[in-house]
Every structure is written in structure tokens, then in C-alpha cells.
């Protein structure tokens, strides 16, 4: 369990993380979603005690990170696959981490096997592909067999096979009752892996909800209709009290009323070329959610003479 309370990080005038309060619970995959520069990596670094919060608090199983004895056995993190010395072999990289936390050498062999790097264990990390580096980073996270796992943008730059592997790994870790916290800037990725969703934009909490609720709330359902007898159908639907929006050649009706519309068309012997239930994409919903936060921020505290949002690109996220 990870608990954040009013977590805030300021760099001078800039607020990178603004008063975040939420809890990451065990047994599920919690997605941490936000556009680039939203403050995801900064938040994760504060969780690991790497960056000091300006205000607020974050606790791992009720304790501050630097109070944990052998922290790798509580929480394993993949922050940046490149955060290792390229001249060191995969085995030695993991060995020095294991030794610092009193983890036996046998465990190094185990995690190398788990991530499929046993055959290149003695090779220098700088010769590794992005995917292999990512796997080595994940091996480091798994090293202490921790109850909490944290991954920052784990699928970035991976091939489809690697993405598939990471998704399944996260799901199986959560199924074992562990706390899994994974960040991404891609809604589509989260929709496939996360059970719970924490969305931030400009460092603010925008949503803290189950994936199912998020989909239900943010993904508009509607019915798309095409017919050669457009005017007659419009009359029939108006008569039945159904609101219709004209969308180019087609008609759209909010909600999931395809059965009712089909029955009405049949009653009045109208020809339909298309009658299909639709859902707006989650990506759209996500963009709308975060775009609002950018806009809100620009109106509330950004000075007018500085129109570009500060949040993008000033710090790696």
C-alpha cells in the first residue's frame, strides 16, 4: 500500500506536483495516467525518497521510504531502464543491488531467469537493446520479492512481444496480491492493464476511480444510424421523444437505444443501412480530461503574457 497525502513538489515558482492525495491498494494494477510533464515521474521519485516533497507526505506500508530496512524487499521500482552503469554486466548490476539489501545471490539468478536474461547475464548492459534494458530494470524491481511494485512507463520503446510480456507480468503480480503501480501517458495501454486509475494533469489529481467507472463515465455511448429515408425516420424518432443529432450523412442518438430504434423503424417499415452502437474512445475522454486541466491552469495562475503551458517538456516525464 502506498499512501500520498497532500504531496506537493515545487521547483521555484513552478508547481510540478500539486497537493496529491490518493492511495494505491494491493491486489490490483493501479494505472497512473497523465500527459508528458504532468508530474508522474516526480511523484514516483518522491515515493522512493529520491526527491524531497516541498509539502505533504508519502508512506510505504505506513512508513517513510528512508525508514524501511532493506527497502528493495518492500518496494521494487523500475524508474528508468537507463539508470545503470553500462560497463557493468547484468549479473553484477543485480548483485550489487542484492548485496546492499542482504538479498542472497541465488535470487539474482532467479530474477534473471524470470525476465529471460540468463544467457546474457555476463554481458555488459551497454550492449543491451532497449527491451533488454527494460527487462534488466524489471529484474532489479523483482529482486527483493517486494509486496509493492512500481513501473514508470514500462512499455516505452518495447516491441509488441515485450509489451505483451510486461502486461501479463503486471497482471500476475497483482493477482498474487501485490500492489502494482504503473505509469503511462497512453490511455489505451492503461485500458488493457489497469483495474484502477489515477489521472493527473499539471500535477493535480483529476480522477481517482476504478477503470470500469472511468469507462462508464467518460466514454459516451451513442447509436449511429444511416438510412435512405432520413426525413421520415427523423419524424418517427421525434414523435417517440428521441433526440437526434445529425452527423454528416449519418444520424446519432445518445445512449444505447439501438433495440428501440430498430423496433420503431420496423413498425414504420423504414429501411436502415446501418444501426450500430458506438463508444467514444477512451483516448478522447482522457485528452478531454487533461486538456481541461491545462486550460484551467492557464486561466487561473499562469501569467497572460506567458501563454504556453509550462508543464510540457521542462522535465523528463
Amino acid at each position: 500500500m502506498i499512501e500520498l497525502e497532500g504531496l506537493t513538489k515545487r521547483y521555484g515558482e513552478k508547481v510540478a506536483v500539486n497537493n496529491l492525495t490518493f492511495t494505491v491498494r494491493p491486489g490490483i494494477v493501479t494505472g497512473f495516467l497523465g500527459p508528458n510533464g504532468a508530474g508522474k515521474s516526480t511523484t514516483m521519485r518522491m515515493m522512493l525518497g529520491l526527491d524531497r516533497p516541498t509539502a505533504g507526505d508519502v508512506r510505504i506500508d505506513g512508513q517513510h521510504y528512508d525508514r524501511l530496512k532493506d527497502p528493495l524487499t518492500y518496494i521494487g521500482a523500475l524508474l528508468d531502464a537507463k539508470a545503470m552503469h553500462g560497463g557493468r554486466s547484468a549479473f553484477n548490476h543485480l548483485l550489487c543491488l542484492a548485496q546492499s539489501n542482504g538479498i542472497p545471490t541465488s535470487r539474482v539468478h532467479e530474477v534473471l531467469e524470470t525476465v529471460g536474461l540468463t544467457s546474457v547475464a555476463r554481458k555488459k548492459a551497454k550492449g543491451f537493446s532497449l527491451g533488454m534494458g527494460q527487462r534488466l530494470g524489471i529484474a532489479g524491481a523483482l529482486l527483493g520479492d517486494p509486496r509493492i511494485l512500481m513501473f514508470d512507463e514500462p512499455v516505452n520503446g518495447l516491441d509488441p512481444e515485450g509489451i505483451h510480456w510486461i502486461r501479463n507480468l503486471m497482471k500476475s503480480l497483482a493477482a498474487q496480491g501485490r500492489t502494482v503501480f504503473v505509469s503511462s501517458h497512453l490511455m489505451s495501454e492503461m485500458a488493457l492493464t489497469a483495474d484502477h486509475l489515477v489521472v493527473i494533469g499539471q500535477g493535480r489529481l483529476l480522477a481517482d476511480t476504478s477503470m470500469a467507472d472511468f469507462i462508464a463515465q467518460n466514454s459516451r455511448a451513442y447509436v449511429r444510424i444511416r438510412t435512405p429515408q432520413r426525413e421520415r425516420l427523423l419524424d418517427v424518432l421525434h414523435g417517440a421523444g428521441i433526440t437526434v443529432v445529425e452527423a454528416g450523412e449519418a444520424l446519432e442518438v445518445d445512449g444505447s437505444k439501438s433495440e428501440r430504434i430498430g423496433e420503431l423503424a420496423a413498425q414504420h417499415q423504414l429501411v436502415l443501412h446501418e444501426l450500430s452502437p458506438q463508444r467514444a474512445s477512451l483516448e478522447e475522454a482522457f485528452m478531454q480530461l487533461t486538456a481541461e486541466s491545462v486550460e484551467y491552469h492557464a486561466h487561473s495562475d499562469a501569467p497572460l503574457e506567458q501563454p504556453e503551458p509550462w508543464g510540457d517538456g521542462w522535465r523528463k516525464d
Partner: protein, 256 residues
């Protein structure tokens, strides 16, 4: 967090990168070879020297002449041990594994300093004996007054210069920047300041000038240095403590 765990971890780190081997080998080879060369040259030129130079001829110190260059390799060693953590991003992985930053830093420095001490001490003894072999009839003996102190001091000097570099690298976080400052400083600037009358008074308190005093057995004729061999080493040690304290405070305060 047991410090012994972290020390083992740091030992694994230091032995598993190539830079450790090549910087330390370079320090050994350059110090010894250059010392032998200059010792041999001094022997052949001894008869042409002035009477004063012959009187203040210091065979022990001559055999350590290679340190002026060999210390640069020690500086690179010290800078890379610490600076590579930053340049590779490993520092975040390291501090996530060992969040007690003092334990992390001082374990790392203890391991690197221990290794530098072993290598430095061996280098100093070998440089002395091979240098003396080159000097022929002008040689000093390890049993002569002050010679053993100078030879042990040479090993301590190499260790302290490496640890000083580690402290600087912790503060600056960038190996390139650290080397860009330390190398010209110890190779050129300190020497220049020490030879210009106006800055000499100040320059004799610089870490390398104060510290290298311990390797002298025969004091030069016009010497007015206000400290002795151990006093000089103490001044150097004080510099090392100061940069380590500065590095520790910055590491503790800063975001990784």
C-alpha cells in the same frame, strides 16, 4: 541498513567496471616509470649540478617525481568512482536501494579509499626501490632517517588525492566537469601558483603542495615552509574532510 551490506555492494560495484582497472594501472605504471626515468636522468646529471643543488639533492623525493603525472590517474579514478553514478543515472537506482545517503556515500568512499590505499602504498614502495636502483651511488636507503616516513607518506598522498577527487565529484555530480577542474588545477595551476612569489604563501596551503611535503626527506636550502611533513599531510587531510563534508551535505539535501 547494515553498513557491511552496503560495503559489500560497493565492492561489487567497484570491481565490476573496467575504469577501476585502467585508472589504477595507469597510476601505478606512470608513477613508477616516470620516477625511474627522472631518477636515471638525475644520476647522469648529478656531476653537472651546482654545489647547492648537490647538497639539497633528495633521492627519495626524486624517485616520486612520477607522482605529478600519476596523481592525475588517481584523480580520474576518484572522479569516476563517484561521477559514474551520476553520469549513468545509476545514482537513482543506488539511492532507492540504500536511502540512507550518509551510509551510501561513506561506504562507497571507504571502499574506494581502501583500494586506493593498497594500490598507492604498493606504488610508492615500488617507485622508491626502483627509483633508488636507477640513482646508483646517489641513492637513499629505506633505513635512512625520514625515508620510510616519506615512502609511506607517498602512499597516503595518492590515497588522499583520490578521496579529495571523490568529494569534488559528489559536489559537482558530473565527471567531465570534475575532471575539467581537477586535472588542470593539480597539473598546472597549483604548480604555477606555487612558483610565483606573490601567490606562493597561499599556494603552499593547497592540498597537493601541502601533502607532497611528506615525501621530502632533504629540505631545500631556502625553505621557509611553516609546516613539517606531517603538518603538511594534515593540511591535505583537512581539505579532504572539507570536500567530503560539503559533498555529504549536498547529497543529503539535493534531489537525486
Amino acid at each position: 541498513m547494515a553498513a557491511t551490506q552496503v560495503i559489500r555492494s560497493e565492492w561489487t560495484k567497484i570491481r565490476s567496471v573496467a575504469s577501476t582497472v585502467w585508472t589504477l594501472s595507469l597510476a601505478v605504471v606512470v608513477t613508477i616509470a616516470l620516477g625511474m626515468l627522472i631518477s636515471a636522468l638525475s644520476k647522469s646529471e648529478f656531476d653537472d649540478m651546482s654545489r647547492g643543488d648537490q647538497l639539497s639533492f633528495d633521492p627519495t623525493f626524486i624517485s616520486f617525481a612520477g607522482m605529478s603525472l600519476g596523481q592525475l590517474a588517481m584523480i580520474v579514478f576518484g572522479v569516476l568512482v563517484v561521477g559514474n553514478e551520476y553520469s549513468t543515472g545509476m545514482i537513482r537506482t543506488s539511492l532507492a536501494a540504500v536511502p540512507q545517503r550518509g551510509t551510501f556515500l561513506f561506504s562507497k568512499i571507504a571502499v574506494a579509499a581502501g583500494l586506493a590505499l593498497v594500490v598507492g602504498m604498493a606504488t610508492s614502495f615500488v617507485a622508491f626501490f626502483l627509483g633508488q636502483a636507477m640513482l646508483g651511488q646517489h641513492k637513499a636507503s629505506i633505513g635512512d632517517s625520514g625515508v620510510l616516513r616519506a615512502v609511506i607518506g607517498g602512499g597516503l598522498y595518492m590515497t588522499l588525492i583520490a578521496v579529495f577527487s571523490m568529494g569534488v565529484a559528489v559536489m559537482l555530480r558530473s565527471p567531465m566537469l570534475s575532471l575539467g577542474i581537477l586535472m588542470p588545477f593539480f597539473f598546472l595551476i597549483s604548480t604555477i601558483l606555487g612558483n610565483v612569489g606573490a601567490t606562493k604563501k597561499f599556494a603552499q596551503y593547497l592540498p597537493d603542495q601541502a601533502g607532497s611535503r611528506i615525501m621530502q626527506v632533504v629540505t631545500p636550502l631556502d625553505d621557509d615552509t611553516p609546516y613539517g611533513p606531517w603538518g603538511g599531510l594534515a593540511i591535505m587531510a583537512a581539505w579532504v574532510v572539507a570536500v567530503l563534508a560539503g559533498g555529504y551535505l549536498l547529497l543529503k539535501k539535493r534531489d537525486a
